[in-house]
Amino acid sequence: MLKDITIGQYYPSESVVHKLDPRLKIVLTLVYIVSIFLIQNFWGFLVLAVLTLLLCAVSKIPVSFLLKGLKPLLILMSITALLNLFMTDGRILWQWGILKITHEGIIMSLFMLFRIVFLVMGTSFLTYTTTPITLTSGIESLLKPFAKIGVPAHEIAMMMSIALRFIPTLIEETDKIMAAQKARGAALSEGNLIRRAKALVPILIPLFVSAFRRADELAVAMESRCYHGGDDRTKLKELKYQKKDTLALFVFILAITVMLSCNLVGASL
């Protein structure tokens, strides 16, 4: 069950997108996030949907995998949609007590829904197509200039890659501890909220104990191999900006331009 979460996962395949420079992908993702908030009507989302499908094809990621990533956000999405549906003033279509649905509300809630969906799907491509290690070395490289003003770029990157590395391990561990406590009759999904919260104690404590133990062991292992951060540390795989990255950049600019020029077509919301 915990294993069903696909968001933030890496999806291995041999596509051009997978081979792009991670720094480019990170920057483009940031630009993408901003540009989503600039979309003003549904034409923009229509174009974006087509572009997303194209990106799926190019990066060889099944659309179903992309949609599965939305599952954990279902509750957030429904709340946003419902709030917008009932809370927007305008031409009333239906009313019951203080609850009302307006024409504007329907449009607004759909609009917000699309925004979240495309925000999540678009940004997911970054993690789907980039291994955690490449991703962190990209972040490190992007943070380098800030090292002069005291940002610990290498340390941040190292912490991130260790954290990412241990997520699956901890999930596996949680599953195991849950099974072990169930074998002693722990009722994990019964009773009221307080009882359920209490039932978490036998799971959380062993989990913390083991996380600390692992951290300790890792620290010793790193130190015994003379790990030290800092400037004179070299990399096995240097990041290289290539021709295909420039090409990708142009394609991206073109796509965003097309998407945002839709704002000129039809009325904005």
Binding site: I177, A179, A180, R184, G185, A186, P206, V209
Partner: protein, 281 residues
């Protein structure tokens, strides 16, 4: 309490690229009071199999009978089964959580809804059975040695007084002395409490010394099963999947090839010693 497993198949995460057939068409029985060894390579499905017996994992296909309970299908009702079939996990010390050893051992019995008095009695009995002095009861389970932690975890399952006790590699990661002590306690528990015991292990020496019956798993299937003599008779077959018969049994086989009239079915060093002494008359 008899256990029988019929045509059991289990598939992890079916319908995804990570699909894995962990168990395939497993059949076996464990009769009341038997001491059964379950051996097999890493990844052969031992842990998956034993988790079926106490209801943690539900069969994809097939049926499991525990006493008069019948478990079949994904939605089988397994409530309370974990109190009848006690399962000690691999590295069970990693599940300790309470402030004191006493509270940790009492976790299982209190989940059964027993009275304070009954719980107290059970904790004391369980500690005694695994050889933990009662002075340790008020200590933190995190402050004792690795071997003692493991005993605390085993006591936590024993305190539920299950009819069947399953131990998943209870000696993994312990030194030879610790292993011997744990296994001896298990044998005592088996005799005193008249429990059926299923011991999951990698070590042929250990199962040869303590078990009456063996079940050998290979890649999710039962490869051999039966008495020690029946299983160890297939030394070749075991060798092929990277398991072996106990060293002393091999030595006895060699002696017999040389024409020495020593009985065939010898599985422990002490048996071999007395057989050889007999030879000398």
């Amino acid at each position: 309490m008899n256990i029988s497993v019929e045509n059991l198949t289990y598939i992890y995460v079916p319908g995804t690229p990570f699909e894995k057939v962990a168990l395939e068409n497993i059949n076996f029985t464990v009769k009341s009071g038997e001491f059964v060894g379950l051996i097999g390579h890493s990844g052969s499905g031992k842990s998956t199999l034993v988790q079926h017996l106490n209801g943690l994992v539900k069969p994809t296909e097939g049926t499991i009978r525990v006493g008069d309970r019948i478990i079949t299908g994904k939605n089988a009702d397994t409530k309370g089964l974990c109190f009848t079939v006690g399962l000690v996990f691999q590295y069970p010390e990693q599940q300790l959580f309470a402030e004191t050893i006493y509270q940790d051992i009492a976790f299982g019995p209190s989940n059964m809804g027993l009275s304070e008095k009954e719980i107290d009695l059970r904790v004391r009995t369980a500690m005694e059975l695994v050889g933990l002095p009662f002075e340790l009861a008020e200590k933190s389970p995190f402050s004792v040695s690795g071997g003692q932690k493991r005993r605390v975890a085993i006591a936590g399952v024993l305190a539920m007084e299950p009819k069947v006790l399953i131990l998943d590699e209870p000696t993994a990661g312990l030194d030879p002395k610790g292993r011997e002590e744990i296994l001896r306690s298990i044998r005592n528990i088996h005799k005193q409490m008249n429990m059926s015991v299923i011991l999951v292990s990698h070590s042929m020496e250990d199962v040869a010394k303590y078990c009456d019956k063996l079940l050998v798993l290979n890649e999710g299937k039962v490869m051999l099963s039966g008495s020690l003599a029946e299983v160890f008779h297939h030394a070749e077959k075991l060798h092929k999947i990277g398991l072996s018969v106990p060293q002393v049994t091999l030595a006895v086989h060699k002696l017999r090839e040389k024409g020495i009239a020593i009985p065939e079915n010898i599985f422990t060093v002490s048996d071999a010693v007395s057989a050889i002494m007999n030879l000398r008359g």
